[in-house]
């Protein structure tokens, strides 16, 4: 009798269709020197998928599964994470490191798995004609550089000729990204550009800030990461550089970058491609279904922070791309290849964002085969040290596509010729 029962149960299990799951991976760094930036992003990314599971039963009713792998912001570990998780059916990778991104571009292309490098990675991957599996919408580093210049034009009545702009940058491939764009824009707008590299990790920047104090640039733009950000903001405060003239890229504009400097960081600005704060309906659901239910990825104390919002935004874009893939292919059981198609046909509208509880959280845009980089709309945020909050002070505005487009074309053409890649968009 017992044997018959077991056989019947086994037969039933074999006959039942397998419960589909949508697998997403998070290459995170919750440990090491960059953990303060890695934790909120990873929490936001994971919590959004938890919210979808708890509130909606997943994406279009299909539950999601999150695989998190710790990279420690180390490129070798990041590649190991990719190799060890790709067999799990990961639909998309979000490597959260420019170094890891460079290593994964050829691997993901060969494995037919898409990769989303939102606001980081190889900028010219915006050219989908060459980089078939890499997407960096809605903005990239070069949009950031142009966004900073456009903002300075805006607050100077459209004329920055003769103004002195200093770029303080992390002396790495990432930090050097804006140089070519700024040099091109320098020719166009006639400002004076000085370059001040800071070696990793950036704990000692006295020379750079003494030089800034001597040369008195009108504005300082920073491409920093990790401890470099906190030290730069502290040093700027020390030499009494006006904080409102100090603008960081989005990786230099989180709460933990400004809080150590206390009141002196008041007025510091940062570029952004998504909104800040937690005044959005989605956070009510996040609190109810995820944090209060004890299902948050972390301690639940990061909700609404800049990098938490960025992680959540990245997850939302991944989920919407999965929905698009389901529509295109007429199935809920999508593969990474189908997900790539979903990403390439993704359209984000304000109506869609509002319906998701994220009105004006990010720009509206449409991805295409040729344009994997989105519209490159850039906003500016400012830190209020009294209330300990960031506010969006300049809405998402277009960047110089003429200059950036030329640079993307040139860089991606070099990559294509080095790797014998043929144009994929007909």
């Amino acid at each position: 009798m017992k044997k018959t029962l077991i056989t019947a149960v086994a037969a039933l299990m074999a006959a039942a269709p397998a419960m589909a799951e949508l697998t997403f991976t998070s290459l995170s760094y919750r440990t090491g020197p960059y953990a303060a930036g890695g934790i909120p992003f990873a929490d936001g990314y994971a919590d959004y998928f938890t919210l979808l599971n708890e509130r909606d039963g997943g994406i279009n009713g299909v539950p999601t599964r999150m695989i998190e792998c710790e990279t420690g912001y180390n490129t070798e570990k990041g590649v190991e994470c990719y190799e060890s998780t790709k067999g799990e059916g990961a639909l998309v990778y979000q490597p959260l490191s420019t170094g890891i991104t460079y290593q994964l571009i050829p691997k993901t292309t060969a494995d037919d798995i898409p990769m989303h490098t939102m606001g980081y990675g190889r900028t010219s991957a915006a050219n989908g004609d060459v980089f078939s599996h890499t997407f960096n919408y809605p903005a990239n580093y070069w949009n950031g550089a142009s966004g900073a210049v456009n903002y300075l034009l805006e607050i100077n009545g459209g004329d920055i000729k003769g103004k002195k702009i200093a770029l303080v940058y992390h002396n790495s491939a990432y930090g050097k990204e804006p140089i070519r764009t700024l040099e091109e824009l320098q020719k166009k707008h006639g400002f004076e550009l000085s370059l001040l590299p800071v070696d990793h990790p950036g704990q000692e920047q006295k020379s750079q800030w003494l030089q800034i104090r001597r040369e008195r640039p009108d504005y300082v733009v920073m491409y920093g990461w990790g401890v470099m950000n906190q030290v730069a903001i502290q040093e700027a405060a020390n030499i009494r550089f006006p904080m409102e003239n100090f603008i960081g890229i989005w990786w230099s504009g989180a709460e933990h970058d400004v809080i150590p400097s206390g009141a002196k960081s008041d007025g510091y600005k940062a570029l952004t491609f998504h909104n800040v704060g937690r005044d959005f309906p989605v956070f009510d659901d996040m609190q109810k279904y995820v944090v209060d239910a004890g299902k948050a990825a972390g301690a639940g104390d990061q909700v609404g922070n800049v990098l938490y919002n960025r992680g959540m935004y990245a997850a939302m874009l991944a989920a919407e791309a999965a929905k698009t893939a389901m529509e295109i292919h007429g199935t809920k059981d999508i593969t990474p290849g189908m997900m790539r198609d979903g990403m390439e046909n993704l359209e984000i509208t304000e109506e869609k964002m509002a319906a998701l509880g994220m009105p004006n959280f990010g720009p509206s845009f449409k991805v295409s085969c040729a344009n994997h980089g989105g519209p490159g709309l850039i906003g500016v945020t400012q830190w209020d040290a009294d209330t300990q909050t960031w506010s969006l002070i300049s809405d998402f505005k277009p960047t110089d596509t003429e200059v950036i487009g030329g640079l993307i074309e040139g860089d991606s053409a070099s990559y294509a010729s080095e790797n014998n890649i043929e144009a994929q968009c007909k």
């Binding site: 919750r30 440990t31 090491g32 020197p33 960059y34 953990a35 303060a36 934790i39 002396n171 370059l195 001040l196 590299p197 800071v198 070696d199 990790p201 704990q203 000692e204 006295k206 020379s207 750079q208 003494l210 104090r213 001597r214 990790g226 401890v227 906190q230 030290v231 502290q234 405060a237 020390n238 030499i239 009494r240 933990h256 809080i259 150590p260 206390g262 002196k264 301690a299």
Partner: protein
């Protein structure tokens, strides 16, 4: 005075003060190496751990709270107290002494007589263990260190020197960071205290005896275990000072452990066994790298300090392998 000369002086002064901060880290290495022959790779992490502990104690943070909450389903994070910096440092010192005892009792006591490379490897293990322990105890978020240290340039020095430039020249006065001035005073007090301790106390003399010759020290009844715990405790105290000074600049965060990289050229130059060597080495490295960056950085694309410090140290090594103040290496056949 010409502005170029004043700028040169400003860079020199700031280089000297940066050198003091490097020397603070190097001192911890010297203390342990001198007494036990161990190159303590974990010194940078000790500075991080002590700064994390100091902030945690001052802010009343419950250690291991994430672990406790995960295991017991509780929601405890703070004891609800805030204590001042003096008592915070005192309690942190107690923790560092406890750590020194544990390091000696559970690690190095079992490695007595092993090759230096084995001891070095043990300190690498210790560094990673302490980094993980610090993360588990206090979390990995960036913490603000509010011990009342002054920040920013000194107005008095700026005002005083602003008039030194020749008439008509644009000059804003000399910039000297108040935190660097405090660090210099603290480092001077620390070195004097260490020298007095080593010269005039029983434990200090025993420490020097152990440093000179372990076997001879043992033969006159000095407890090696006690001295090593003492030395690790002193290195822990130096780590607190370094952690506070560096943590005040950037907030207390895990990259603080990388300050050890700044100490290596100082040690190469000043020698691994000399306290004055650490100070003089720090000053030479600080001034050398800052002046090089000032004079040649713009021509070379900037960011020369990290590598130039090592070039400077290598130059000294070529002519004096034991470092400026290191003990002369004499091989007898």
């Amino acid at each position: 005075m010409p502005v170029a000369f004043l700028n040169f002086m400003e860079v020199t002064m700031n280089g000297l003060m940066a050198g003091v901060l490097y020397a603070l880290v190097a001192l911890g290495f010297v203390l342990i190496y001198k007494a036990s022959g161990i190159f303590n790779y974990a010194q940078g992490v000790m500075a991080l751990f002590s700064a994390l502990t100091l902030v945690g104690i001052m802010e009343g943070q419950v250690p291991f709270s994430h672990l406790i909450n995960a295991l017991l389903g509780t929601e405890i994070h703070h004891f609800g107290w805030h204590i001042n910096a003096f008592f915070g440092i005192l309690f942190t010192m107690v923790v560092m002494v406890g750590l020194a005892y544990c390091v000696q009792r559970f690690v190095f006591r079992h490695l007595v007589g092993q090759e230096p490379i084995i001891l070095f490897m043990a300190t690498i293990g210790l560094a990673y263990f302490m980094e993980g322990l610090g993360d588990l105890m206090w979390g990995s978020d960036i913490k603000t260190l509010a011990v009342g240290l002054p920040q920013g340039g000194s107005f008095a020095i700026e005002d005083l020197t602003a008039t030194w430039a020749a008439e008509g020249e644009r000059y804003y006065g000399m910039y000297i960071d108040q935190l660097d001035i405090v660090a210099t005073v603290v480092a001077a007090i620390l070195v004097i205290a260490l020298v007095l301790f080593a010269q005039y106390t029983k434990q200090g003399r025993a420490m020097r005896a152990v440093a000179d010759d372990h076997q001879a020290a043992l033969s006159v009844g000095i407890s090696l275990n006690f001295i090593w715990v003492l030395v690790w405790s002193l290195a822990g105290f130096v780590a607190i000072v370094a952690g506070v000074m560096w943590g005040a600049k950037s907030g207390v965060q895990f990259s603080l452990s990388l300050i050890a990289l700044k100490a290596l050229p100082v040690l190469m130059l000043g020698g691994f066994t000399s306290i004055p060597g650490a100070i003089v080495g720090g000053l030479i490295i600080g001034v050398g790298e800052k002046l090089f960056e000032y004079q040649f950085g713009p021509m070379l694309g900037g960011a020369t300090e990290n590598w130039f410090a090592y070039v400077l140290a290598l130059l000294f090594l070529v002519f004096r392998p034991q470092g400026l103040f290191g003990e002369k290496i004499i091989e007898r056949v």
